[in-house]
Amino acid sequence: MDRSLKRRLEASLSSQLIAPIRQRHDQTEIRIGPGDVTDVLSTLHDSVDLRFEILADLAGVDTGEHMQVVYHLWSETSPDWLRVIVDGLSRDDPRCPSATFLWTGAEWLEREAYDMFGIIFEGNRDLRRIFMPPDYTSFPLRKDFYLPDDAARSPGEGVRHVERPYAPAVVADDPSAGIRRAPAS
């Protein structure tokens, strides 16, 4: 735990934090709203006493109530990993500013988060699917997307699609199966 990092973060970001800074093991965690992403990331990247220059990871998270975008950053000024949680994105139309203005490499990470969660990153010039085929319509890592054959505690329990070769179309079209459609853009 890096106490001095906590002080520095509170000094430079105090108005933008929507929850207290949390520290556990070797990680420091801050929470911000989607409106402050650009400002906060720029401050973390450019501020002389922070200098978080390496984007370690960008992940989408579906909590079941709303969406999150989680950044992990590394800086030589601190022995801790910094976790920035962008909280409170609406599940029906999740939108978040893109981080590509600081890290060009975030482009593919954002494409992956879009592919898996449907989070739309505003400002990313190449936001299309990356793993799934371009005509695919669901977002597989959302919590209301159930694995049809292998999920122990889902409504899909006991349904083994591999044994029913002609059924997948029916499963995919049935709204009760809980598979979400892509929002019309």
Binding site: Q27, D57, E112, M116, L141, D150, Y166
Partner: protein, 422 residues
């Protein structure tokens, strides 16, 4: 002479349905008459979705598209690169991923904490211990498990062995992509010895499933130690001999030098890690930048270079092999006694929380972000793969180079498609 009875089948033959009706009913089979010429016409075969995609698929004067892959011996897996060429020169590249996508994250979120370890194994299949390591590191933080020191040393020992195996294989494949056939034979000899050694330790040659939450599965045994001793007695000399095959090869050096130069700023902006970023002059090695396990107690250097070209990326990895041999020596000297597993319940239900574990694999930083909701399955299991980030640079390194250098550049970044496509 007795007559031989006619051969008869004991089972009555079941009548097969006529071919015609089968293929017509089956929506998965496309009949010949349905395949028309316009199926192949548009590039790409759907309306372009983004600004960048539209720009890429607009063909300028004298330009042509060339598909490399998905099945191409030099793409290290099933990667498809759509190249836009002007003569011999690459103008632009659009990598197409997803041919190996298995949804490992979703599978892990639907299996319990112990099972996650064998689901993440096949991601980086030439160095699978490191992906296991990242996962157990995150889980141990979720559960506040303290790993016995002997287990930590065994983890470092087996990990560094596998790093050498992976780098040796990289050397062979890089040379193979540049047209040299010999080094791959030597690197497989070397890799085979290490893999046999690890098979004696873990029970498997490739997908080890060896690390456990709170330790490792099984202590060091006699066969492993005797094989390791044999190998270590000549490892340094053998490594020099193998690298000498390429370092002094004029064709290889002239083809790799100055090709695919990635400068410092570019490496930072793209989130490149591993040997690729250290070849560009940034000493970012998770073992030193953010120490885990017993690495703070070990003495080793982080080699860096400033050229940032394909040759530098190759030389960095060869330097790392020497450092790994040093680490293995120290592990054997300092190996403590004691248990190799912490005491843990059969069913793991960590308290709700979040954890991020990152380790330095042969290709760069492997990370795992795990969220627990208090149940016996991870609520969210995010895998960060270094090859994914390293491959992202390819569209920015290739333009301006010749088609023949494409494979030198892609291969020098050392991507493994199993990890990229997850």
């Amino acid at each position: 002479m007795p007559t031989r009875p006619a051969r008869t089948s004991s089972r009555p033959k079941t009548p097969r349905p006529p071919e015609q009706s089968r293929s017509q009913d089956d929506p998965r089979i496309m009949l010949d008459r349905e395949v028309t010429s316009d199926l192949y016409e548009p590039v790409p075969p759907y309306p372009t979705q983004t600004e960048r995609e539209a720009e890429f698929y607009t063909r300028g004067d004298g330009e042509m598209f060339l598909n490399v892959g998905p099945h191409h011996p030099a793409t290290h897996g099933v990667l498809r690169l759509v190249l836009k060429l002007s003569g011999e020169q690459v103008v632009d590249v659009d990598p197409v991923l997803g041919y190996l996508h298995r949804g490992v994250e979703k599978i892990c979120e639907n299996s319990d904490y112990y099972h996650v370890i064998d689901h993440v194994d096949p991601l980086e299949y030439v160095s699978s211990l490191f992906q296991e390591w990242a996962a157990v590191l995150a889980f141990e933080q979720l559960m506040d498990v303290e790993v016995p020191p002997r287990a930590e040393y065994i983890r470092v020992l087996s990990g560094e062995l596998l790093r050498i195996a992976s780098h040796t294989l990289f050397m062979g494949f890089l040379a193979l992509d540049l047209g040299g056939l010999t080094p791959i034979l030597y690197s497989f000899i070397e890799r085979d010895e290490i893999v046999e050694m690890l098979a004696a330790l873990t029970g498997a040659r490739m997908l080890f499933n060896y690390f456990r939450i709170g330790g490792v599965n099984g202590d060091l045994n006699h066969e492993f130690m005797s094989r390791l001793g044999d190998w270590m007695s000549r490892a340094a000399k053998q490594t020099e001999a193998n690298t000498g095959l390429l370092n002094q090869n004029e064709i290889f050096v002239r083809r790799a030098r100055g090709v695919g130069v990635m400068n410092r700023e570019m490496a930072l902006r793209f989130g490149v890690t591993g040997g690729n970023v250290r070849a560009s002059g940034i000493p970012f090695d998770v073992r030193r930048a953010h120490p885990y396990s017993v690495y703070p107690q070990l003495d080793f250097n982080v080699p860096t270079r400033t050229e940032g070209d394909a040759l530098a990326r190759y030389l960095i990895r060869m330097d790392e092999v020497r450092e790994s041999i040093r680490i293995i020596d120290q592990c054997l000297d300092n190996m403590p006694d004691g248990p190799v597993m912490a005491k843990l319940p059969r069913l793991l239900r960590p308290h709700p929380g979040r954890a991020w574990g990152a380790v330095e694999g042969p290709r760069g930083m492997l990370g795992v972000y795990a969220i627990s909701d208090g149940s016996d399955q991870p609520f969210r299991f995010r895998i960060h793969d270094p090859s994914f980030m390293n491959l992202e640079v390819v569209p920015h390194l290739l333009p301006g180079n010749l088609l023949a250098d494409t494979m030198a550049i892609v291969s020098s970044l050392d991507p493994i498609m199993g990890g990229i496509d997850k």
